[in-house]
Amino acid sequence: MSENTIFRVSSSPHIATNETTSRIMADVLIALMPCVIVGTFLFGIRALAVVLTSAAAAMFFEWAYQKITKQKITTGDLSAAVTGVLLALALPPTIPLFMVIIGDLFAIVIVKQLFGGIGCNFVNPALAARAFMVAAWSAPMTASYATPFMSGPDAITSATPLAILKGTAAEGIMPSITEAFMGIKAGCIGEVSGIMILVGFVYLLIRGVISYKSTVTYLVVFAALTYLFGKTPFSLEFTLYSLLTGTVLFGSVFMITDYTTSPSTDKGRYVFAAGCALLTFLIRRFGGYPEGFTYAVLLMNICVPFIDKYMIPKKFGARKKAEQKQ
């Protein structure tokens, strides 16, 4: 080392965590794996094909968009893969693959990249794509749920428990609460198994990727509203079914905890999660759809900038208003 070496300077801090965006996204993918595995187990290889197609398509569209618009390629951060898998898990297992691909195109290009890419989209790409797909192909998106262990080219479709609860499906067999929790019921690929969702949730908590606050607030508010004002009030059984069917459990763990489309402060997260729960309940109870989760969260996503603006955490040593006037 020569006498007059000039060292590089920069402002502090001079150390950083080794945590990176891609590691966080990889953790989310790992947390989604139990749902993928159980989905494949229940609905066969067709379900796995949906998941893999969706992840690949999402990555491809991000890469292609950034290539065409001459931006830096950021597929390495794995966020597109997370969007792809999330969307796939929220789809019925029998969905035609071309619809999945168009859904990914919508999620990645329209919802995410046109608004500036990761961190800049104002609604959840996977949920927005799902809403788009429900509007575009309502029959395959809402009516063709495969019965577990019966999939294949001649899959028997059946009504989802949620539709039966709602009364929109004329007939069907309700699974028991245990079956509903384990996932042995008709439904979307990743949403059926409560236990596998919880495994993913616990993993995310242990890894510090998300906090329990949004999820727990959402579930508590939603359960309370359903118990008190649901179609069958004061019924514990009905409340449990409501929690275990549809997107509620899956979404409360993987959708409302999305960084970009949820508020940044704890206070804001409580408001956001409670708002999502209220809207889900209202749509389920009074709306036309059996499931209200998607629209509820999309509506609350739009409110996030306002929540962030007014839910500023109380700073350390904040003076009381009376003191400020002095």
């Binding site: 060292f7 150390i15 500023i312 700073k315």
Partner: protein, 444 residues
């Protein structure tokens, strides 16, 4: 139960390099540099001229201003030059250069003094001022100013800060282990000056041996007066406001000083320096420095004469083992990166770190993913991601609504960021711009 505060986080402490190594004494080389500003306050004027001979402990620069602290020669020799030389802040600053004659002749003014209780409060404050004692944690606020709070502020707590929450730093830890009596005597002096019956020493739980050592050195009748408080190991536990919060449960109001909640916090080495002055008469001319990092051959804790250039410290520690990318004075979270090894040790040099990684070279072109880790980590409970956004938009009113001026620049927001946004850098820009705008506004 362990005392602590809300927010902050545990970070890898990297203290194992040096926390078991006793303090070694290092002697100075041929040339020593004394920048005229090593404290917060007014810059000093030299009281020696080129060619004068000086002895150890002799006053070489002073000021009439209250907020200032004099500087003393740490070697004997001749004043070689007074001119612009490197300062740790990165600028060149008016400095006195002394050529060491290696005689180690001590100035006759350096004489042991009486016990603290034989002096009045005002005498002790003058003794501390004349010894050039400042806060040695890094900021360098003159200690005598701290000990002279406005008369309307009643002081209830004096706290010695042994948290040492910055990674790598072990100098305070070693001082607590090796000279516990000096710290206790210093604390008793402070209690006497402030008219208090009790005092506190706050120590992070990762320094259990220091907690036990200090407890052993408190005798029975002092036990009720001196409280050794174990603190949760969490950054930034050593921040004045957070230390006060942890020990007293009081929150220093936004924009206020510790004295507003009746507390005064003093650094460990500062406390020991007060004792040294009383017991030996020697003013502040040495300090304990941790030399550490993965690029240094033999990390160590050394007692260094103030004014020694950094390159001598590095030689003393066996030189570099690998090529360093970053040289830092102080801790890695709040310390200052150094470009030049001719820069000298000043009163606030708690450590010299040589690291092989440079986080400023990390790719920072990714977007903020709004993970909000910066919000959860912020010990002032601010929202760094919005501060950065508003600084970039030059929306300073909004920055103030988000309480930008309360930032204490602990660095956690930049540390935790998975997409390397470095919010602190933008917050600093914003704070500087707001201060500048107010100054201009005030002049109109």
């Amino acid at each position: 139960m362990m005392h602590t505060f809300k927010g902050g986080m545990h970070i890898t402490d990297s203290k194992a390099y040096t926390n078991k190594l006793p303090i070694q004494t290092m002697s100075a080389g041929d040339l020593l540099y004394y920048p005229l500003q090593q404290h917060v306050g007014v810059m000093l004027s030299p009281v020696v001229s080129v060619g004068d001979s000086v002895k150890i402990g002799q006053l070489i620069a002073d000021s009439d201003a209250f907020i200032s602290a004099p500087i003393h020669a740490s070697v004997s020799g001749t004043v070689k030059d007074i001119g612009l030389y490197p300062h740790p802040s990165g600028v060149k600053m008016q400095s006195i250069v002394i050529e060491n004659d290696h005689q180690d002749a001590v100035d006759p003014s350096v004489q042991p003094m009486d016990d603290y209780f034989n002096y009045t409060h005002d005498q002790l404050i003058k003794i501390i001022r004349d010894a050039g004692i400042v806060g040695m944690g890094g900021a360098g606020f003159p200690t005598h100013v701290k000990l002279s709070p406005p008369p309307d502020k009643k002081i209830d707590y004096v706290i010695v800060n042994g948290a040492e929450c910055e990674p790598y730093l072990t100098s305070d830890h070693r001082v607590m282990l090796e000279t516990p009596d000096d710290i206790i005597y210093g604390l008793k002096t402070l209690m006497y000056i402030l008219g208090l019956k009790s005092g506190y020493i706050g120590i992070e739980a990762n320094k259990q041996d220091a907690i036990e050592t200090l407890r052993k050195h408190i005798d029975a009748d002092e036990y009720k007066q001196i409280n050794i408080v174990p603190l949760k190991t969490k950054y930034p536990q050593g921040s004045e406001k957070h230390l006060i919060k942890a020990i007293t449960k009081r929150s220093v109001p936004s924009g206020g000083l510790p004295a507003d909640v009746g507390a005064i916090v003093v650094n460990i080495d500062t406390c020991a320096a007060i004792t040294r002055k009383l017991k030996t008469g020697m003013p502040l001319i040495r300090r304990i420095v941790t030399i550490s990092g993965d690029a240094i051959s033999t990390p160590k804790n050394v007692s260094v004469p103030i004014g020694v250039p950094f390159k001598e410290l590095i030689e003393n520690a066996g030189g570099f083992s690998q090529e360093p990318k970053k040289i830092i004075m102080g801790g890695p979270m709040m310390g200052m990166a150094q470009h030049n090894l001719d820069t000298p040790v000043v009163k606030g040099t708690s450590a010299l770190l040589c690291l092989t990684t440079d986080v400023s070279l990390f790719d920072t072109t990714g977007n903020c993913i709004r993970c909000s880790r910066c919000v959860s980590a912020c010990p002032m409970r601010l929202a760094p991601l919005f501060l950065k956004k508003n600084v970039l938009a030059e929306n300073y009113e909004e920055c103030e609504r988000y309480n930008i001026m309360d930032c204490l620049e602990c660095g956690l927001c930049s540390y935790v960021c998975p997409s390397r946004q470095h919010p602190l850098q933008y917050i600093r820009m914003g704070k500087a711009q707001i201060t500048e705008n107010k100054r201009r506004g005030g002049q109109k």
